[in-house]
């Protein structure tokens, strides 16, 4: 277990040593269905935190709430000490918290290079009037392009840089989405099911990339079903079920928690059904 978590209690909503994200009383319901009802949640800075839970646990909704893509009925949450209540997704991204999507959103009819450039921040040429005068943005464009080259080499997409993103394989699109998110030098990266649909040959390199991001000082929060990935790379695991956080702990022990087993397998998974159901 990583040292920063040594003192952290193995219980839902545990306080972290140096939290980058803090959420309180976040509640989101759709009609009569409560999708998310989180009392307290913290994400440790410069660590890899996994958010897991059975289908319908509210992980993706919680993810959308934290990134501004959905609005809760009530609750407050902050990033780096700044409240993000009512903040638009674009502003949250500019504040240094970027996300990827479960269904990969590569911009298919743009080249890999253009995808990358779009991820960059502080390109003045994205302003309409400055766009009319190439002299005002060409220099920055050059810097962005060089940065994109470095990232594309790292993610082994350099040879594909002039191809349309739509021609990449599913796994390559995941890599592209991750690389594109890194163009703006975010502090925190939120990955929504990074392994979904990725060919096993690419899984290892994707895992390595995530660990490498942590080594560079970034914070990672990811939603995942693949327990192999969760055990391999995460420092801390948060388990959700029915909209609530039901357990937290290091990956080695959290799955042994009875609440987690109940959530995944049902509360009566140990009892003999034949006694209750004589047919």
């Amino acid at each position: 277990m990583t040292e920063v978590f040594a003192e952290v209690a193995h219980e839902p909503g545990a306080a972290k040593q140096d939290p980058i994200v803090i959420a309180d009383h976040v509640h989101r319901h759709f009609g009569g269905l409560t999708a998310v009802d989180v009392e307290h949640f913290e994400v440790q800075r410069n660590a890899i935190t996994a958010l897991i839970g059975p289908n319908g646990a509210g992980k993706s909704t919680f993810f959308n709430l934290l990134t501004g893509f959905d609005r809760p009925q009530r609750g407050e949450w902050q990033f780096n000490g700044h409240s993000l209540v009512g903040t638009s997704p674009a502003k949250i991204a500019r504040a240094g918290k970027v996300r990827t999507f479960q269904l990969t959103k590569a911009l298919n009819r743009m080249t890999v290079m253009e995808n990358m450039r779009l991820g960059a921040a502080e390109q003045g040429g994205e302003n309409f009037f400055k766009a009319l005068v190439p002299g005002l943005w060409k220099a920055r464009e050059q810097e962005i392009t060089e940065k994109a080259h470095v990232l594309l080499h790292r993610f082994k997409l350099y040879e594909k840089k002039d191809d349309y993103a739509g021609s990449l394989s599913g796994g390559q699109r995941k890599l592209l989405e991750m690389a594109r998110a890194l163009m703006s030098d975010p502090e925190m990266i939120m990955l929504d099911e990074p392994m979904a649909g990725v060919n096993p040959a690419l899984t290892e390199s994707l895992l390595d990339h995530v660990v490498e991001l942590k080594n560079e000082g970034k914070t990672i929060l990811f939603v995942e079903h693949d327990m192999h990935m969760v055990r391999r790379i995460s420092d801390w695991v948060v388990v959700m079920a029915e909209g609530r956080i039901i357990a937290e702990g290091p990956p080695q022990t959290v799955m042994a928690n009875p609440a987690v087993q109940d959530a995944y397998l049902g509360a009566h998974h140990d009892s003999d059904l034949s006694e209750e159901d004589p047919s």
């Binding site: 999507f101 911009l107 009819r109 921040a121 739509g166």
Partner: protein, 324 residues
């Protein structure tokens, strides 16, 4: 031979330039940003009204142009404000009804004094400021086979101004489409949530594209009216669909697509009309039926073309092939 002459006349007619210009505006909407504007004729009509009404009340030409541009800007802002936060289809519904609203308001009796009702505004009421600017002689001029007046109505002067405007806005499109601004718009066309996640204010960009394309449409409308008159029913739904045809035929998201599309569209209309009136006896198809008949044929020709060449004449096959 007459048909050939008519065809070339149509290719370079100011009306062709006006439609090319309006299609360039639509290209900003659809080709770059993916906005489904189904009411582009409304922008054109508003531009025409803004220009003609202010000129007939004594405004100089520059002021009349500003009024036309302002009318389209306000229209774009009003349309975009409630609809651009929603998904694409809502914009299509809102624009088609808003454009019809403009047309019905324009032709309503209660606005007779301002817009001239369903008869519209006569050319002599608003064309003079433009025609006075003409440096060309005030008489018919023949260049090779083509004869036009120097300054009046569909004049050589209007030819020059209209095609210069097309060149200017094609250049603007080229410059903006390759700029970082255009890149954000293309990203929005592909997936606006992804662009949002990258920190761009999608709503603002969509609004900019809607207003810019609408303003270009309004200028196209002004140029069109300078060769004809302001007539609300000439800017109904068919005009919008012709513009879409022109854009898709030439190739969306390309610089010259709208220009080539407009030329091909108007040329084929003239050619089919000419051939039909030459070869089909009037006992089978009376002269009044030729116009709708040729429109039907143009429609079929274009359907065939779009089915077999979905990217348009100048479009990029690779950009469309991956559309899933």
């Amino acid at each position: 031979m007459d048909i050939l002459l008519d065809a070339t006349t149509a290719v370079f007619a100011p009306a062709t330039a006006a439609f090319a210009l309006a299609a360039i505006g639509l290209n900003f909407h659809f080709g770059l940003t993916g906005l489904l504007n189904m009411g582009h004729a409304g922008f054109m009509l508003l531009g025409m009204y803004g220009y003609a009404i202010s000129t007939s009340r004594g405004a100089p030409i520059w002021l009349a142009l500003i009024v036309a541009i302002a009318a389209a800007t306000v229209f774009g802002l009003l349309l975009g404000w409630p609809t651009l936060k929603l998904r694409g289809d809502y914009l299509a519904i809102a624009t088609i009804s808003a454009a019809e609203l403009v047309r019905y308001l324009g032709r309503s009796n209660s606005l007779q004094g301002l817009t001239g009702g369903s008869t519209g505004i006569r050319g002599s009421d608003f064309k003079f400021t433009f025609e006075e600017l003409s440096p060309l002689p005030n008489e018919n001029i023949t260049i090779l086979f083509w004869t036009n007046h120097g300054s009046l109505s569909s004049s050589w002067w209007l030819h020059i101004v209209a095609w210069s405007a097309v060149a200017l806005f094609a250049l603007l499109f080229w410059q903006l489409a390759r700029s970082p601004w255009g890149r954000v718009l293309k990203g929005i066309r592909e997936d606006e949530d992804a662009v949002r996640a990258l920190g761009k204010n999608v709503y603002s960009y969509k609004m900019q594209a809607l207003v810019l394309g609408g303003v270009i449409g309004a200028i196209g409308g002004v140029l069109w009216s300078l060769g004809a008159s302001v007539q609300p029913d000439s800017m109904g739904r068919p005009t919008t669909f012709w513009l879409w045809t022109i854009l898709l035929l030439g190739g969306a998201a390309t610089v010259f697509g709208p220009v080539l599309g407009s030329m091909l569209f108007w040329m084929s209309l003239v050619v089919i009309k000419g051939l039909a009136s030459t070869f089909i006896p009037s006992s089978v198809l009376s002269p009044v039926e030729i116009e709708p008949f040729s429109l039907v044929l143009v429609g079929i020709t274009l359907m065939v073309l779009v089915v077999f060449r979905p990217q348009g004449v100048l479009g990029n096959k690779r950009e469309l092939a991956f559309n899933d």
